[in-house]
Structures are given as C-alpha cells and as structure tokens.
Amino acid sequence: MADKIIKKADLPALLSRLLDHYRVYAPVRHQGMTNFQEISAADQVDLSHVNTTLSPKSLMLPQSESMFEFTLDRTSDQVGVLREIEKDFSPRIIFGIRPCDAKSFQLLDLNFDTPTYRDPWWVKRRQSTTLIGLGCNDPCSTCFCTSVGSGPFSTDGLDILFIDAGDEFAIQTVTEKGEQTFSKVEIGAEGSNATTDAVLSVQERALKLMKSAVHSKNLKDQDEKALFEADFWDEVQFGCINCGVCTFVCPTCWCFDIQDEVHKGNGIRLRNWDACMFPLFTLHGSGHNPRAQKLQRVRQRFMHKLKYFVDKYDVGVACVGCGRCVQQCPVNIDIRHVFRLMNDLGA
C-alpha cells in the first residue's frame, strides 16, 4: 500500500530538500488560524489542524489577480494594448492539502480547463503545481466527503498522499508528476508490512469517525423548476445575512468579477472573487437586478452546487464535503440540511 515511509522526525529535512527545488506552500498557524502560505523554512509548517480555515482555492484562483496592464496616454504607442502581467509559474508544491480540497481542483478544472475555454493562468498553475496530500486521521463531525465522492484518504486529484501512521508517514505516489518529484528529492525507506497494518488501522478508524452523510442520488432526476419554486427556500434563507463567508471559504465557489483600476492614466485589469450572495454580482447596467432579493441569491448558491452543476457535468455535486461553510456560517445555514431538502423534495 505505501510505496515509501518517512520518520516524522525526518519530515523537516524532506521539506528543506523540497525547498531547494520548489516553491512550497503549506499550512501555517498564525493568530490561532491555520491557512496555506508559502514557506521559507520547514519549521513554519503546522499539521495539527483538522483543515485550514480558508480553502487553498486562492493558490489556484487568487482572490485578486492582476491580469493585464494598460495606458490611457494617447501619445503612447502602447495605447489600446492590454499587456499581460508576468506571473511566477515556476514549479511549486502544495504540501499538506486535504483530499477534499484536492478534489475541488478537479471540479474547478471542469470550468477553467474545458475544450472550448482554457483559462491560461489556471492551467499553468495546475501544471506547475504538485499536490502532496495529507490524509485525514481525524475527520470532524461536519466532514461529509465520503458521501460526495471523496474520502479522508482519497487520492483523487493528488500526486502524492502522506498518511500519518504514528511515528512515521506512509507515502503513496499517485501520479507520474509525484514520481518525478521524488526522483529529484530523496525520500525515506521502503514501506513494510507493519506500516501497511498501521495505515489500514488509521483508515478504518477515520471512517468510523465520519459522522455526517448527505444524500444526493435524487438530485439529477429532480425537476429543476420544482426545486426552484420549492416552498422550503423561504425558511432556508430567513436567517441568512447575505455575507460572503460561505462562498469565500468554499473550495468550489469559483465565481469572479473583472474590474479595471486606473491611476494617473495607467491601469490594470483585475480578476477578483465575487459571489452570488452579493446583490452587485448580478446588477445589470440598466439598473435591473434579476436577483435583487436575498431568497433568490441564497437559492442560486444551492441550486448551482446541487442542481445546475449536477445537470451540466454529470459528475455529482459541486461540493467536496469539507464542511467549512457549516462551521463558519455565522447564522448556521447548513448545506447538509439543504441537501436533504433538495434531494427529498416530493419524496
């Protein structure tokens, strides 16, 4: 099962060797919250978290991305030209990403890397990044990855998976990209039967700890209009304060807005995260807003994730079960409850 093992005590040395070849991003604890950051030394990494407060989405889709620059100076020969702003696509590693978050990148590929449209920066970031995952020995009570096509030790979307097996990590190489990483950087010894037993036991334990499950099998066959017009939205939306917390912490919320910012005749074109929770997201130039009401905006978020996405791509829901929105919504709007309402409508 495990290709290799590494003693936990040797992890800092491994990270240091990775830092010789790659930019490395890993969970770092700061002011009581753990989030992904670029590290410069192995001792910055903190793996004691259940999952990061924010998803690692921003590493692939920055919250604010400077795409182009331009000038409004009519005397310049560059007027009217959008020049691409240079970005760093040198090889990098995201270390310690959870399987649910790795799966989210695969779902976002469906939007940013399609036969018709290829978002160049998304694609280049994906290509230049090796994902080294860390299995979840202790899923929390709001995790429901196992019922949305992932799991605490799923290798979907990962290049390498580390599993905490007591005094050592068992390492599973998943892709060719993962193999290439370890051809550059020497890692530990071959796994043994004892490691395999230890891994099996943590996996079994983790699955027992999973307390949440959602049902989604009826979503595809549900009538879109019936869901749209369902009575339950009135109650689902009541408590919502229409902040963007759920969408900003969500690994699969991918919506953005494009803005020009001009200062003294020079401008940049930015792509910023935006969200269906905000009225401005859908405000037309005419002043009309097709989603002027809170109910419409709340409904959109769930319909997109649990119905439109399901119908359009046929690969399940646009949710990886990380539970961040459940933990962080200030008014306890719980997507697991909305799964139930939508899946069970008419049953």
Partner: protein
C-alpha cells in the same frame, strides 16, 4: 436556560394564538454544538422549535429593518438597544413590535471554547448557570461559563433589555465599575506610526467578505458605499488601502450608533477584532456628548440631530 426557553415558547404560543403578532423572531437550536439559527415562527404549532442557550448571540435586530408585519422579538440587552436605534431611524415602528425581553447573563464565545479545546472537537455541549459541559470523542471537560464569555459581553453594562413588553426572567444586576476601553487606551497611547502599523496588522487577514457589515443591525443602507458602482468609490481587490477604507468608513458610519453587540466580530471568519474601531468611536461619542447608543427612544444619536441653537459657530 431551560426555564427561559420554556417561557419564550409559552409567550410565543400565546402571542400567535391570540393573533397579537404575525410572527415571532427567535432562535432555534443549531445543527452544530455552540451554534444557533435565527428563525421566524408564524404558526403556533411551530413554537416548540424556539430555543435559548448561551449561544444565541446573533443580534436579531438585524432582521427588522423595513419589516411590515407585527413581530415579536426575543431581545437581549443589545438587541433591545439596536431596536431602539432602528426605531429612532424609522426602520421599524415600536407599535409593530412586541419585545420578549431576556435579561442576559452574557453569551459564550464559541471560538474561545474551541481555542481552549485546542483541536479536540466538541460533539455535545450542555450548560448549567455556572458551567459548560463539553463532550468529545474521547474526552469530557467542564468549563466555567464566565471565563468563556464573548469579549463584548464581558464588558457589557446593559445586559437587561432597555425596552420590553414582557420579561422571561427577573432583571439581572448590571455590571459597573469596569473599564470598557482598556484595549482602546492601549492603541490611543501609541504614536501615529505605531497606530498605523497596528491597523495594518489588525486588518491584514481581511478577505472582504463583508460578513461584519452584513451582521451589523445598523448596516442597513439599501446600497453600501462599497457596493456603489456608478460611480465606484472603492476598489474591489484586496488592496490594503481599499480594505482599510472599508473598515474605517464603516466604523465612522457607526459613530454614536454602535451598541457593541459584537455581531460583527462574531461573524468574521478570520476572527479580526473589528470592534476596536467601533469602540474607539463609541468612546469618543461618550466623551464628547455623554451619549450611549440605544438607551432611550427620546434621544437620537448625536450625529443624527441638528439644533438651530447649537452654541458652536461652525454650524451656523
């Protein structure tokens, strides 16, 4: 807590059955420990869903602006003060409201409890008047309730509702002789450069999700200045000047209108102490006008009023 809950349910049932109100605004038990959900009950058969515990911290006044119906509201001290302000600012009429007053013992800060548990997940939390009992997968812990209150509740001097139509418990003694502004003094004594650095650090984690604004009962502008697009006042990126502009302007807009209910800080997913900004202005208003927001239906916030006989020259 259980008695308060039962009393809220009894009152809600009576009000709905007698058709004194169209709906009751209260809380239902959350789907995760130490959390509750604001809920609007319209049918007497539904009143048993109403709940009360130390985690009903959200300010229900947030749901009131522009309501047209007659609604009963479960109101702590802070909720009631914000209702006073919303009434003064013509967002709701007093005669539309029936206030079910709850003398408050301070609400517990879920984040403080989680920090204490240090990664161990609480699966069930129960409470007595003195203690919280927390059960997890392989642990049980009893915490002293008063040590885990929200920071704004620790320094609250108006725990009793300032207006109400009926009470669910006897009024509680108010806290006095405490310094509400310790953290503000600490910032005030810094040099200008140090203060600037302090604000940079304070607001650096902000992701501009606007949860603080949306949670605020006094942030009810039909279009917030950050959402104006024609003209656009503020950049949409995570530029630190834009982020600071948002926070500072929002705080100024709340000068004399903030009750320090803490709903902003509670909603922030990054745990930013945004109350530092509003509290500084609260302190200034207290120093300059001897005014505390939301204590009286007769006294509008000082910056909302104009008097022709104002003694100061500049205004004439």
């Amino acid at each position: 807590m259980e008695q308060i809950k039962e009393k809220i349910i009894r009152i809600a049932r009576r009000l709905l059955v007698e058709k004194q109100v169209d709906a009751v605004l209260g809380f239902q038990r959350g789907t995760i420990p130490m959390m509750s959900q604001p809920i609007l009950i319209r049918e007497p058969e539904q009143v048993d869903r109403l709940h009360w515990d130390s985690f009903c911290a959200a300010n229900l006044a947030t749901y009131l602006p522009q309501r047209r119906d007659r609604v009963a509201v479960v109101a702590k001290g802070c909720d009631s003060r914000n209702i006073v302000l919303l009434t003064l600012e013509n967002q709701i009429r007093r005669d539309q409201l029936h206030l079910i007053g709850v003398p408050c013992q301070g609400m517990v800060d879920r984040r403080r409890v989680l920090a204490k548990l240090n990664g161990r997940e609480p699966l069930a939390v129960s409470e007595t008047s003195e203690h919280l009992s927390i059960k997890g997968e392989a642990f049980e812990e009893t915490l002293k309730r008063t040590e885990y209150l929200r920071e704004n509740c620790v320094i609250c001097t108006h725990r009793n509702p300032v207006i109400y139509d009926e009470l669910v418990a006897d009024l509680t003694p108010e806290q006095s002789d405490l310094d509400r502004y310790q953290d503000i003094h600490a910032v005030e004594t810094k040099s200008a450069d140090e203060r600037w650095y302090h604000f940079e650090e304070l607001l650096a984690p902000c992701i501009r999700c606007y949860a603080c604004r949306n949670a605020c009962p006094m942030c009810y502008c039909p279009t917030c200045f950050v959402d104006e697009s024609n003209p656009q006042w503020l950049g949409k990126s995570v530029d630190s000047t834009d982020t600071k502009t948002f926070h500072f302007l929002r705080a100024y807009h709340l000068a004399g209108r903030c009750t320090d209910c803490g709903n902003c800080e509670r909603a922030c997913p990054l745990g930013i102490k945004v109350r530092q900004l509003t509290k500084k202005l609260e302190k200034d208003i207290k120093d300059l006008y001897d005014y505390e927001a939301g204590l009286s239906l007769e006294e509008p916030p000082p910056l909302d009023t104009y008097r022709p006989d104002d003694p100061q020259e500049f205004i004439r």
